[in-house]
Every structure is written in C-alpha cells, then in structure tokens.
C-alpha cells in the first residue's frame, strides 16, 4: 500500500484517527495535563507542566516535520491569520480556557479520567463551535479578514531560511528548559 493510498482511504483514516486519539489521550493523561488543577496552575503561573509538555512536543515535532519536509515525505499545512481572526478568536479562547480549565483535547481526556465537569465543558465546546458556524457568514464579511498577517510562516516574516529558524527556536526552547531546571520550576 503506497502512502497516497493510505492518505486517501477513508476507512483507514478513521482507524488512524482513532489510534492517534488513543495515543494522544494516553500521553496527555500521563503528562498530567488532563487535570484541571494543573491547567489552572499554568494559567496562574504556579505550575509549568503545560508549557513543558507543549514545548517538548514543539521541539521534537518541529525537527521531525522539517526534516521530513526536506526529505519530501511531509508537507507543511500552515494557516494564514489576521488580527480579526487569530487575535480576537485567541483572546476569546483564552478567556474560556481559564473559566473551563481545559482546552478541547484535554477536556476530552479529562472526560476519560472521570471528570464530570469536563463533560459539561465538552458539550459547551460543541455549542460554541456551532455558534461560530452560525455567525460565520457575518464574521467573514466584517471582522475575520481585518489586519491580515503579512506572511504565513515566521521564516517568511523575518526573511531567514527555515532551517536557521528551526535551529534558533530549538535553542530557545532548550534554554528555557535549562532555566526551569536551574530555578527548580
């Protein structure tokens, strides 16, 4: 089976989605980030577990995905953004994140660990997504495209070769981990 056959086969993709979800949920729970207290601790800046998990995933994921892009076995899928969509939506998300204490992935994970509040949160997330779908025509013609970003990727924006930016970001993440270690964070 070639890679294109796998990518285009609906049933295989549904199976892969399930397996990916199981692995993702398992890792999120083992990392501790399906726990409300841990996520709120991050937003109150008293516990840095969420940032450690995210930046470790970014470090390893970035090096792998960019290597696979160079080897032509993976493509990038960046989304364009704007002030009206990315910044406004991101701040609404952040406010909800603090009130709910989970994000969409960790809410699903928390449901699996027996957190009943996360179940209400998950229902809310679906309702919120449905509200957005309803508002989409109005938002698309008014605010979503306001202040479009000048580039799709950070390397394009600053005009530096992607490989150099990957190395720079990797160094910065490792430096932050070292600071966490030194200060016992």
């Amino acid at each position: 089976m070639s890679i294109e056959t796998i990518r285009n086969n609906r049933n295989v993709q549904v199976l892969l989605g399930l397996l990916t979800g199981i692995a993702f949920g398992f890792l999120l729970q083992k990392a501790g980030v399906t726990n409300y207290d841990m996520i709120i601790g991050q937003l109150l800046l008293t516990d840095f577990t969420v940032v450690k998990v995210m930046l470790s995933a970014v470090l390893i994921g970035m090096i792998g995905v960019y290597s696979m892009k160079l080897a032509r076995i993976a493509h990038l899928h960046c989304r364009s953004g704007s002030i009206g969509s990315t910044v406004v939506g991101g701040l609404i998300f952040g406010a909800g994140f603090a009130l709910l204490g989970y994000c969409p992935g960790t809410a699903a994970g928390a449901v699996g660990t027996g957190a009943l509040d996360a179940l209400f949160g998950a229902v809310g997330i679906a309702i919120g997504a449905g509200i957005f779908a309803r508002l989409y025509p109005i938002l698309a013609s008014t605010i979503l495209n306001r202040g479009a970003f000048p580039a799709e990727t950070v390397p394009e924006l600053i005009g530096i070769r992607p490989v150099v930016v990957v190395a720079g970001v990797a160094v910065m993440i490792l430096l932050l981990f070292w600071i966490f270690r030194v200060y016992g964070i």
Binding site: G21, G25, G61, A95, F97, G105, V111, G114
Partner: protein, 174 residues
C-alpha cells in the same frame, strides 16, 4: 516495560516528546496537522443537521468543514479512550464533579462548577473556530511548523487565559 503503563505520571518532557513523535506520524500518514476543535465542529454540525434537517449542510461554514465521522471526529473519541486507559491502568481513574482547586477557591457546589464549565466551554469552542485552531491545532501542530498565525494564536490563548484566571482566582505570581 509494563510498569511504564501503570505509572501515575510521566515526565512532562518525555510525554511532550511522545506527542511530537505522534505528530510526525500524522503528517506522514494523514497529511494534515493534529487538531481537536474540528471534531467538536463536526459534532455541532451533525447534531444540528439531525435536529433541523438538510439546511444545516448548506451553511457556508459546514461547506468548508463538512460535518462527518472522519479522522478529526474519531480523534476525540480516541482521546477519551486513551486517557481512560491511562488513568485506569495507573489506578487514578475516579468520578470527580468539582476539581479540588476550584472547590477550595470558589466552592464545592457541583451545579455552579458545571455551569462555569459549560460557559467556559462555549467560549473555548467559539474562540477556537474563530482563531482557526485550539491548543493542539495552533498551540502544538501550528507552532512546530513555525506558522505565524499559530505563534500569535498561542500567545493570545495564554494572554487571555492568564488574565482571566488571575481575575477569577487572584494573581499569584511571583
């Protein structure tokens, strides 16, 4: 080997690295990023289609993100199963209505916590679709591709989250 699966927690660095490797497999086998809010959007679309019929599928947003049982939808089901397996194997699974921190800071009333979670969830779902992704789609999958929109989105998630958490529970840092 088996004790790895029954441990209550792993190093966040190790678990995070595992998520990074998992994302490699998604890029190779499925040719798209790993994101969680799309599955919730599909759920909303399918529920609405079930309640109000065919009109839902003609909505412009659902033409763009067709609500169906696809990779993104089963991902969410998988996350529930995976987190259940992990917590069950380590003996930490337990039905909890009000998380300890919320109970101590705000109060132990379950109905109040559920209402807060529902309203917070609505904002999370609305904001994630508005911004074009959530903590996984933008925060991890997008930032690792060095997408400008994802770095801005991740910053806004945390700016909004830190501000509102501070207003709700009091700023505790440093």
């Amino acid at each position: 080997m088996i004790e790895w699966f029954t441990m209550a927690s792993w190093s966040p660095y190790l678990a995070g690295a595992g998520i990074g490797v998992l994302i490699w497999t998604v890029f190779v086998l499925s040719d798209h990023p790993l994101g969680c809010s799309t599955g919730f959007s599909s759920t909303a679309g399918m529920v609405e289609a079930g309640l109000s019929g065919g009109k839902t599928r003609e909505m412009p947003y659902y033409q763009k993100f067709v609500p169906c049982i696809d990779w993104y939808w089963v991902l969410i089901i998988g996350i529930v199963i995976g987190a259940f397996l992990s917590s069950f194997l380590s003996g930490t699974f337990g039905i909890v209505a009000v998380p300890p921190f919320f109970a101590a800071a705000i109060g132990p009333d379950a109905a109040f916590r559920f209402a807060a979670a529902l309203i917070g969830g609505i904002l999370v779902g609305l904001g994630a679709r508005w911004a074009g992704g959530c903590t996984s789609g933008h925060g991890i999958s997008g930032t690792l591709q060095l997408a400008l929109s994802s770095w801005v989105a991740a910053a806004c998630f945390f700016i909004g989250g830190i501000l509102v958490a501070g207003l709700l529970f009091g700023f505790r840092f440093p």
